[in-house]
Amino acid sequence: MQFQKEVEILAPREKVWRFIWDVDRFIACVPGCKEAKTIEEGKRYAATMVEKVGPFKVEFPTTIEVLEREELTRIKAQASGADNKIGSRMKLDLDVSLREQGDKTVLGFVAGVDILGKLAALGHGIIKRKADQVLDEFAQAVKAKLEGEG
């Protein structure tokens, strides 16, 4: 499943960039994400993703690995996790880009999400919609947080 999203933030690029690397504040913007930990500064992180569709609940302990980092411009990361209770795995390829536009910063995401295992029985459409919602809420939360700080 491929997702693309762009959000315009009324804040300088440096500030957005710093925010992304401030794990605790950044993670607070990811819906369903908890217990974020830095394993190796700038390289490896761990978190638990909890998502729900009606009565179906998954909990993925996830490791996030930063693969590429281009100062103030781009981050490429990969995340993967498994819910052993339900027997499902999640893989996420994330490409984050920052670009200046006047006094705004355009934060772009390209995400490739793969869900494997029993959870897939819920149907591709339902999962795609959920993932889309999560990404949307996340983008809005980042915007609200950065712009709210003035």
Binding site: V53, G54, P55, F56, K57, A121, H124, I126, R129
Partner: protein, 282 residues
């Protein structure tokens, strides 16, 4: 494999509500079990407690209650196929029930369970929206009615509060001039698209209600399509049905999946709406 769980056997709706309130997300109502047990066997959901409601009395069967047909939430699909009251007052619902899933599901599965599980590809919700049905939700100390279109909120989500129990479904008895139909289409086990239409025919078409289901996360009423047909003569309405179908297709929030692409489902909504309208007219 099914994991261990505790079976609660309450004797009243108030007791069911109390158990739901007490155990929260670790407990679930068990009626027919046709959806729930499959999901539990697959390991997709786990509950510590199942609250068996099968033995509750007074929640099954169909009767006339004033201007509405009252359907007990525990009525099985099979009971509804066979109900003389439904056959007389709501033949479109009987036809729908005759074609729900397969004979095993119809014997065990209940209408209330079907609605509460809110599986996106279920049939009854769509027609119940078109028929203007109301869901009766009860707690130990309160009771409220929820319009069918507000009840089905999203995929697998209803408007029920955690400790509310769906006890009855009230379907208004259609006027003598009332017409309705539900049509579905699919090539997998569950339908890809379901479309329902209901209206009165007195020279002109009035009180039009259109609902689409299965294509998207939850069935939806389509007021824009209804408005196109409202108050029109039979022929005028038929002339506008393709346009209404296109609107309904967009409103279905169709999702591309194994049941078909978004465009395909939107197209089928149009085809089915036309056929359902013609079938209700004839």
């Amino acid at each position: 494999m099914l994991r261990r769980f505790r079976l609660e056997e309450p004797e009243s709706v108030a007791e069911v509500s109390e158990l739901l309130g007490r155990f929260g997300e670790s407990a679930k109502i068990y009626a027919g079990g046709t959806e729930l047990l499959l999901a539990m066997k697959e390991g997709l959901v786990q509950y510590e407690r199942l609250i068996n409601v099968k033995k509750l009395t007074g929640l099954s069967g169909v009767k006339l209650a004033g201007a509405a047909v009252e359907v007990g939430a525990l009525s099985t699909h099979h009971q509804l196929e066979d109900s003389p009251v439904l056959k007389e007052k709501l033949p479109a619902l009987v036809k729908l029930e005759q074609n729900v899933a397969n004979v095993r599901v119809r014997q065990a599965g209940t209408l209330g369970g079907n609605l509460c599980f809110a599986e996106p590809h279920a049939d009854p919700g769509t027609l119940l929206i078109a028929l203007g049905a109301k869901m009766v939700a009860e707690k130990a100390s309160s009771k409220r009615e929820i319009a069918a279109e507000d009840f089905l909120v999203d995929a697998y989500e209803t408007a029920l509060e955690p400790d509310e129990v769906l006890t009855k479904i009230h379907v208004p008895v259609p006027a003598a001039s009332g017409r309705s139909a539900y049509l579905k289409f699919g090539y997998l086990e569950r339908p890809s698209v379901g479309v329902a239409v209901a209206f009165n025919l007195n020279g002109a078409v009035s009180g039009v209600r259109i609902a689409v289901g299965c294509a998207g996360p939850a069935p939806r009423r389509v007021p824009e399509a209804e408005a196109l047909l409202e108050g029109k003569s039979r022929d005028e309405a038929l002339g506008r049905i393709a346009e209404a179908g296109a609107i309904a297709g967009k409103a279905s929030q169709a999702i591309s999946d194994l049941h078909g692409s978004q465009e395909y489902k939107e197209h089928i909504v149009g085809v089915l709406l036309k056929r359902a309208f013609q079938s209700a007219l004839s």
